[in-house]
Symmetry: C2
Subunit: 211 residues, 2 copies
C-alpha cells in the first residue's frame, strides 16, 4: 500500500512526472532531479519515497518505473470524475477550469436547482437540473462533489449529495457542514488564503523594521 | 509583537470572535471556549496565545480585551483592500464573493486588459481597464492583488503588478511566478485540493478494506 501522501507532496508530483518524462537516460538519481527542479534533495527523496520507495544506491530510480508510479499516484489512468453543485459564478469558473486533468480528475457537469440554467457550455461540459443529479451520479459512478452553492443552501445540498452516493465533498460555501461518518468534507476558504497572505506581508514588514 | 499566526489559527479567529462577542460574562476561560466551540483545549490555548497571550490563572481572559485583540489580529478596523487582475469567470466570482470582510479585507475592483469589460457590477464593485490599475493602486494604497488571468498572461501581469507597488500576490493561474525579493506570492491550486480529497478518500477506502 502507498504511504500517506501529503498535500504538498501531491502538488509536486506533476512537476516530477513532467521532468522524468522529458529525460533521456534509463535511470535518474534524486540528486539530479533535485538539481534540475531546484528543489531540496531531502524533499525529493521524501516525495518520491512516498510514491515509489527508495531508489537503488548509486543508481537511483529506473525511469520507466518512476513514471509508472507517478502516474499511478496521480491517477492519470483511472480518471476520476467530480461534479459541481451550484452553477453560480464560482461553479462556472470551476466548470471551465482546465487544471484538473493533470491530477487525473475530470469535471464535466454542474447541477443547479434553477432549471433555466440548463445549458451546454461547450468543451463537452454541461449545466444540468439538480433533479438529474442522482441518476448522473449512479450512471457515472461519481463519489466526489464540489459544492459552490450559497451558505444558506449548503447543508441541504450536502444531505442531497450523500443520498446520491457522494462520499467526498469539497465545500466552497462559507459554512461548516454536518455529515455522517464515512463522508469526507474539505472546507475551502478563499478569503482565508488572502487574509493569511496579508498577515504574512504585514508581519514581514514588522520584522524588517525591527532589524 | 504578535507571534507568528498559522493559517489554521487564523481560520479559527472569526469563530472565536463571534463566540466571545455573544457571551455575557466579563471573563471567560479557554476551557469554556473549547467546550462551547467543540474544539480541543490545547488548540484554543495555542490559538489565543498567539493573539493575546495567556489568560489569567483560574480567571481566563477578559472579554473586552480578548475581543479587541481578536479584532486587531483579524484587521477588522484597518480594512485592507485587495484588487483582482483578470475579470474572467474566476475573477468575477471572487469580485462577488462576500467572505472577505470577515477577515478585514475588501475587494472592490477587478482590472482586465479587455477594455470592453469595464462595468459597474453592483454592490459598489467595478471592472476597470488595466491601464487604470497603477493609478488606482497609488490612490488607494493597494499592496495585495489576486491574479486570475490565464497562465500565459500571468508572468507579465505579475511584473506589471510589482511596478504598481503590489507586494503580495495570491496567484490562481496554474504557473509559477518569478519575482524579486520582497514580493510574497502564494500559489492557489484549486485542482490540488480536489485531487488531495480524492486521494484521501481512496486511501481511507483501502484502509477500511484491509481492516
Amino acid at each position: 500500500m502507498q504511504e500517506y501522501i501529503t498535500r504538498a507532496t501531491l502538488g509536486r508530483l506533476p512537476i516530477y512526472l513532467q521532468y522524468v518524462r522529458s529525460i533521456d537516460s534509463d535511470t535518474i538519481s534524486a540528486t539530479k532531479i533535485a538539481g534540475a527542479l531546484n528543489l531540496g534533495e531531502v524533499q525529493v527523496r521524501k516525495d518520491l519515497g512516498a510514491v515509489c520507495g527508495n531508489g537503488r544506491p548509486k543508481v537511483g530510480y529506473e525511469r520507466t518505473t518512476l513514471i509508472k508510479d507517478l502516474e499511478n499516484a496521480l491517477g492519470v489512468y483511472e480518471c476520476t470524475e467530480a461534479i459541481i453543485i451550484g452553477a453560480g459564478k464560482l461553479g462556472l469558473a470551476l466548470l471551465g477550469y482546465r487544471g484538473f486533468e493533470e491530477y487525473g480528475l475530470k469535471v464535466r457537469a454542474a447541477f443547479d436547482i434553477a432549471a433555466d440554467k440548463t445549458a451546454d457550455v461547450g468543451g463537452e461540459r454541461f449545466i444540468k437540473p439538480m433533479d438529474e443529479c442522482k441518476e448522473y451520479c449512479k450512471v457515472n459512478n461519481i463519489r466526489i462533489a464540489i459544492l459552490t452553492v450559497p451558505a444558506s443552501a449548503a447543508q441541504q445540498a450536502c444531505d442531497d449529495l450523500v443520498s446520491c452516493g457522494i462520499t467526498a465533498i469539497l465545500n466552497f460555501a462559507p459554512c461548516k457542514l454536518k455529515t455522517r461518518e464515512g463522508i469526507t468534507v474539505r472546507q475551502e476558504n478563499l478569503a482565508l488564503s488572502l487574509a493569511h497572505l496579508n498577515l504574512m506581508t504585514v508581519n514581514s514588514t514588522i520584522q524588517e523594521e525591527e532589524q
